[in-house]
Amino acid sequence: MPAKRLIDLLFLLLYRHRRKHMGVFLLSTLIVFVLLSFMLTAQSLHHTLFSALEQQPDFIVQKVRGGRSVDTPTAWMEEFARIHGVERVAPRLFGRYFYEPNETHFTLIGIDPFEAQSSKFLETLVAGLDLKCFIAEDGMLIGEGVKAVLDHHHFFDYYVFRAPDRSKIEVPIMGTLPREAAVLGNDAVLLSAERARTILGIAHDHATDIALFVPNPLERDTVRDKLIMAHFDTRIIAKSELEKLYERLYNYKGALFLSLFTAVLLSFMMILYARYQGLHGSERREIAILRAVGWSIKEVLSLKLLENALVAFGAFALGFVLSYMYVFFLQAPLLREVFMGFENLRVHLWLQPHLEGATLITVALLYFTPFMAAVLIPVWRAAITEPLEAMR
């Protein structure tokens, strides 16, 4: 027999049970929407954060005095460069600048335009900006968070910093960092190295810290040991430690949400089961008729599986489309705050579309398995009861 009659029957069943299916469809769409919105937001943030982390140096060395970080002598760089395995050493100039009117901090970063060409981190921040103009004007590039604060206080074109020697330094605003750089540069102010030194009060023979690049992971432990041996008064921050820190923070929020979601999923299963458990008379009769005219239990189950799979798949597809739009077009209002929070300036991080097949498969398994189990068990129970009883 052609499949057409089976398809006709399938759509007839969908139509006949439209009220029940509609309720389940809406509930399922909501469940998929919530779960996928969470997953997509988390994944996008994870991807962005870890991509940013990849551009960080393998080690950061800071000089410590009396347990607090102080400026690091740049003379150490030569010594570090001689350690076997170290590919590149670079000074970093940055510091937190207290912005009193808002009681907040900007992160001032001094950049050397030549170094900007070779640093992936700076490359990301200044991508697409006119560096020549930036150098010529000796201005600054500011993050979106900084711009919002300065705009609020009518500093549209420049800002006047106060140096430690009480002098005032007016720095023109040359532009805003791209939206994609928000995760790194929301509170950042990029200035020339010279200006940063003046404002932050960092001497010419010092830097905030020193970055080391060690491409071979097998050599990193040895390099770390040698750094400790070279100077006991140092704090060494490894990229792997930062990764662990991020991962812990990320997993903590993920686990919290998954715990909540498990409770919701269990409720969803119970609602579904209760809904299908009470197969009403006409549905029992349908099953009985099919059994009486020669359909096996397996064939009846296949039909009901197909009928409910269409509802489940439709809800999944709609839930996916809605969550994709919510996360990547509307930028996940409310949900984003759960993940991001903010310590200093509010981050307006732009969630970039990023989707992994494994995520979709995980959500699909979490959703379809209980759905089908909750639907098929009552149908199977109806199919094994005596058809004549159901048809009376």
Partner: protein, 222 residues
């Protein structure tokens, strides 16, 4: 054609609610014979039909249809047996109201291992034999009671079965439609179908050449 030997059926066996629906039923039905199982509601005639139709298993005894023992068939074999050997006609028609007459008749053939052309031929033949071919495209919901029963007959005939089992088939029909139904059954018997009707409608006793088997409290009343 059909041979039942010492068939018993007890529901809720081994519990305080145990109920003997059939007690030691032995019945032989020849090919092309029409047998009327007559009895009041609850006498066990429908249970007997469901056992012959392999919709229910007997507690003891044997059921042979053709050369096949159907008492202990697996679900898959029982469904093939129902599809290929039997046609069921019910009291309340049991049609899919939103489907057309033709689609209702096609239901038993959806999983049958036959070609599209063969299925179409069988559906046409069944519609003709049940005198409902002119309504083939009409939705079952729009049919009269008599037409619905003819549609149910056509569905029962779709797989060209050897045996027709009818459970109170005239209970929802007026006397004119009940008479037409009986005539239809006689035509089918003439075509070689073996027919068993469970009913308490006296109209069947008036038919020529039928055997009436009274069932009382789960036994054949001799």
């Amino acid at each position: 054609m059909i041979r039942l030997e010492h068939v018993c059926k007890t529901f809720h066996e081994g519990t305080p609610e145990a109920f003997e629906a059939l007690r030691d039923i032995s019945l032989h039905v020849a090919a092309s014979e029409m047998v009327i199982l007559k009895g009041i509601s609850g006498s066990g005639k429908s249970t007997l039909l469901s056992i012959i139709g392999a919709l229910s298993k007997p507690s003891s005894g044997s059921v042979i249809v053709g050369n096949q023992s159907v008492a202990k068939l697996s679900d898959l074999h029982a469904s093939h047996y129902r599809r290929d050997t039997l046609g069921f006609i019910f009291q309340s028609f049991n049609l899919f109201e939103e489907l057309s007459v033709e689609d209702n008749v096609a239901l038993p053939l959806i999983h049958a291992p036959i070609t599209h052309d063969e299925a179409a031929t069988r559906i046409n033949a069944a519609l003709e034999r049940a005198h409902i071919a002119h309504k083939r495209k009409v939705r079952a919901a729009l049919l009269s009671g008599g037409e619905k029963q003819r549609c149910a007959i056509a569905r029962a005939l779709a797989s060209d079965p050897k045996v027709l089992l009818c459970d109170e088939p005239t209970a929802n029909l007026d006397s004119q439609n009940a008479r037409a139904f009986c005539d239809n059954l006689l035509e089918l018997r003439a075509l070689g179908k073996t027919i068993i009707v469970a009913t308490h409608d006296p109209i069947f006793e008036t038919l020529e050449g039928v055997r009436v088997v009274p069932i009382v409290s789960g036994r054949i009343d001799s």
